[in-house]
Symmetry: C2
Subunit: 216 residues, 2 copies
Amino acid sequence: MQLEVGAHRADKSAGRIRQHNEKLILTAAEQEFARYGFKGTSMQQVADRAGLPKANIHYYFNNKLGLYYAVLSNIIDLWDSSFNELDAHDDPAVVLPRYIATKLDFSRRYPQASRVFAMEILSGGPHLSEYFQQDYRDWFRGRAAVFEHWIAAGKMKPIDPAHLIFLLWGSTQHYADFAVQIDAALGEDRPQQELYETATRTLTEIILDGCGIRRD
Amino acid sequence: MQLEVGAHRADKSAGRIRQHNEKLILTAAEQEFARYGFKGTSMQQVADRAGLPKANIHYYFNNKLGLYYAVLSNIIDLWDSSFNELDAHDDPAVVLPRYIATKLDFSRRYPQASRVFAMEILSGGPHLSEYFQQDYRDWFRGRAAVFEHWIAAGKMKPIDPAHLIFLLWGSTQHYADFAVQIDAALGEDRPQQELYETATRTLTEIILDGCGIRRD
DNA sequence: GTCTATAGACTGATAGAC
DNA sequence: GTCTATCAGTCTATAGAC
């Protein structure tokens, strides 16, 4: 699955100043869109955070929507490509723990990007209608088929693959999207590395045992 | 845990017109706050959806924040009270499936309320800072202690209780918060009842087996 | 209690000087 | 490429007629 929106594409041949400024703007936009969503974010906020005049944002990214797509497509490409690596010929006991660890690592490294996506979905996904087409459903079925193959091969219990996928996605993204609540529950002073190590261990154990996948 | 914000309280002794209008406004506000968050929602949107003039919203709910708290506190009270019912003396094989089913039922019946909460957390929880205090941490530890008791009693495997709680919360709320993505993956034509029945069965099986809880 | 009209600030976007 | 100044529209909130 590739998100094609005909929006802004980073021009690798662009000058150094342009590259630097676009990076500043994208980072600032990610922060603001993650907090306030598309509608709730103002170009002035983005400009202020980037330390540039508002007109410059419009110069680099044609309009608000172009800037939004540039931010949103990053995390989707990342997630989809890692999910695409799961193969029916792999051993789930090897690749599922790796997938859980990778997905949790995304939550740790790119929490803002995860939140931009979550905001978009909560808003009803109006800017992903092209992405969520028949192609998406076919892609999802193909991915679910990998789990069905594992079940048929006796490598895991007969569990509804779609809901297992939702569990994998939901439980891993939760650490990025609900970080504020998690911090409030555990105390912010707790080191993040330990939090994510325990999360990876716990999630892996519950899901693998829950799916009847024999580990070493 | 009780959300105390000193905001609007529904006056049970109020007239019929007032009760009716407040209900209209709260329902409309829930829809809009769920889609656009606090900052992204305008009072005009809420008024249009409720079918009332904008000034009436200000008359019934003093300001935007008062309206927001009235909506937000509903789902928090609901979630907390159901989570509070888990008791150390219960059998997890009985009460955990019930909790998962209840939480999924909340996602099915009150998806908008769940999304308002998710939006608030994604936004950094600025309006829940009073709620997320030391009291919240103590409450969370007390709830985690229930699982520790079950572990000590040999009723489940030694699993980090905090992360199990996050898994329970994240996986159940995912069905409300990411409904758009789930519909896109499975097809919107699929009957909702079947979706939630399969979700309940799959989540219950994975989590209970994953925690080593013996079921009948 | 209801609703129009409006104040004062902010929105996305652009023209045009530098 | 950069940035000020500005437009037309929308924001929350309220004053005041009915």
